[in-house]
Amino acid sequence: MNNLFFSNTLRFIGLVLLQVLVLNNVNLFGYLNPLVYISWVFLFPVRKNQSTILILSFLLGLTVDIFSDSGGINAAATLFIALIKLPLLKVILKKSDFDYLLFNIRSISFGKAFILIFVLTIIHHFIVFSLVYFSFNEFYTIISTTFFTSIFTIILCILGIVLFTNKK
């Protein structure tokens, strides 16, 4: 328990600093900034009691918002993917109930983990960019920015998870 607590706290601080100091200044092709901090939500252990992950992911989004002067945009989006993570996992693994304590994103097959990350990232980015532009006139911009930033984020997230976590 203690070990879990420390590793998640360190990952929280590390990902926020990485996001606001490095990744918010990448500007690939002039406008693409990957939002890699959401990989914290992918890596957080799954529990039946969801209140911890909901409150912590709200705080994670809010911290990124405070640094990047964007109101509560990242908080709203991160909170939403934290809520749908467990139901989505159940759909992907086709199980109604599974062993919560032993679950780890590295312990399921790569294909299933990829689908999970892909769906959550697309939803998160769509919410973020809808709230950033906040206008139906910009619908095409929202869709294209969501799509290209998601590709960038997914590549970095998967590389990060493969390189920096241990396989059970």
Binding site: Y31, D65, S70
Partner: protein, 276 residues
Amino acid sequence: MQQILYFLKKFRFFLLFIFLEFIALFLTIQHHSFHKSKFINSSNTITGGIYNKANSIKEFFHLKSENKRLVEENTKLLNLINTHKTDFNLETFSVVDSIKYFQKYQYSFAKIINNNYTKPDNFLTIDKGTNHGVEPDLGIVNSKGVLGVVKNVSKNNATVLSILNRNSKINVRLKNSNHFGTILWNGKNHNTIQLIDIPRQAIIKVGDTIITGGKSAIFPEGIQVGTIKNFLFNNNKYQEINILLFNDMSALGYVQIVKNYLKNEQKNLERNTINE
């Protein structure tokens, strides 16, 4: 009663989600309205401190270009002093009444410690706050042109509503013809902004210089903004005028804060005139 409790228990995570989501959306909507976001901004102690540290490292790599800009500005100021010297040698020498005369604009300097330019609504953070006399609604400029207006202020930092923000509107005029207009940004390219409200009788050409108009009580008249890049003239009206900024908004270092001592006097006078 029992059914209500059962309902609450069954949906407790969803209710928590709804509660937190409402807070997040509330903060978002509050942030979209100008001058209201008090808590969620990057001018507070912790975030400002971290940006200060990161920036002191980044600053080192821009010393060369920053020095070049300072030399250019010094040259410009030297030229300005010399033109005044010739004025004093003229025979019609006007005496300045020391009781009535006082300075209208005061300049102080600050450093940009956080710079956004890729989002549709961008803010800058500077390293001066109420401890240094910064207050909301002061203008921010550098030697190449207008940058924005101070929005939120804390003790040692302040956030600036950049001209690259869809809420920013600044009064400007053509340098050669005194026709006034307004600049705003459509949120696309960080090198070009848009000029509107130019009357149809104004004659403009590609390459004309745009300067601040001095109508707004924030910026002095005559600060450079940019040159006209291209424009559309349809139905006897200027439809869309794109302006190429002199500043490279992606590489900003030191800036000047402009304080107008006569702002309150002007504002009060204008308000009283409307109320009568």
